[in-house]
Subunit: 65 residues, 2 copies
DNA sequence: GCTTTACGGAAAGCCTGCTTGACACGAGGG
DNA sequence: CCCTCGTGTCAAGCAGGCTTTCCGTAAAGC
């Protein structure tokens, strides 16, 4: 699933680790989502969207791959 | 996680099975989401929200239980 | 009574989300 | 040179999403 996590994270000057800590997940989880290895859970997706002031639908493209 | 699936499904006069077929999942999956036994995946959550013309954030309350 | 429809839920199994811990690499700074 | 930082990825393990199959129950219609 394509997502805007990487772009938004970088635009905010955050490392994967910093974002992970802010959301209470592991760095590997953020990395896996950014590299498309797996999709976040609904709960994490909502937290990610909130963190960047976006909606879930804006942030995650459910229709890709 | 609390959700508005049951209310919206009933408001649209759909059975759990009819909704399940419309979304390509099993009836038990819809039942489990409505009864709170587990949370939907991000993909299914987006499909459910779309089906009822809502946003994910309107449809699912990530902050409960 | 019998049948159908709708719902709740259990069991087993598969795949995926997430964890910790570890290793490797490149870029940059001293 | 070395050290640190940021990233990519692997392995093992646990929890949870989803499937199929199955059983129980209650309401509604004939």
């Amino acid at each position: 699933m394509r997502s805007a996590v990487r772009e938004l994270r970088q635009a905010n000057g955050l490392s994967q680790e910093a974002l992970a800590r802010a959301l209470g997940v592991s760095r590997q989880t953020i990395n896996a989502i950014e590299t498309g290895r797996y999709d976040p859970s609904l709960r994490l997706a909502v937290h990610l969207a909130r963190h960047f002031g976006r909606t879930v639908e804006e942030m995650f493209d459910v229709d890709t791959e």
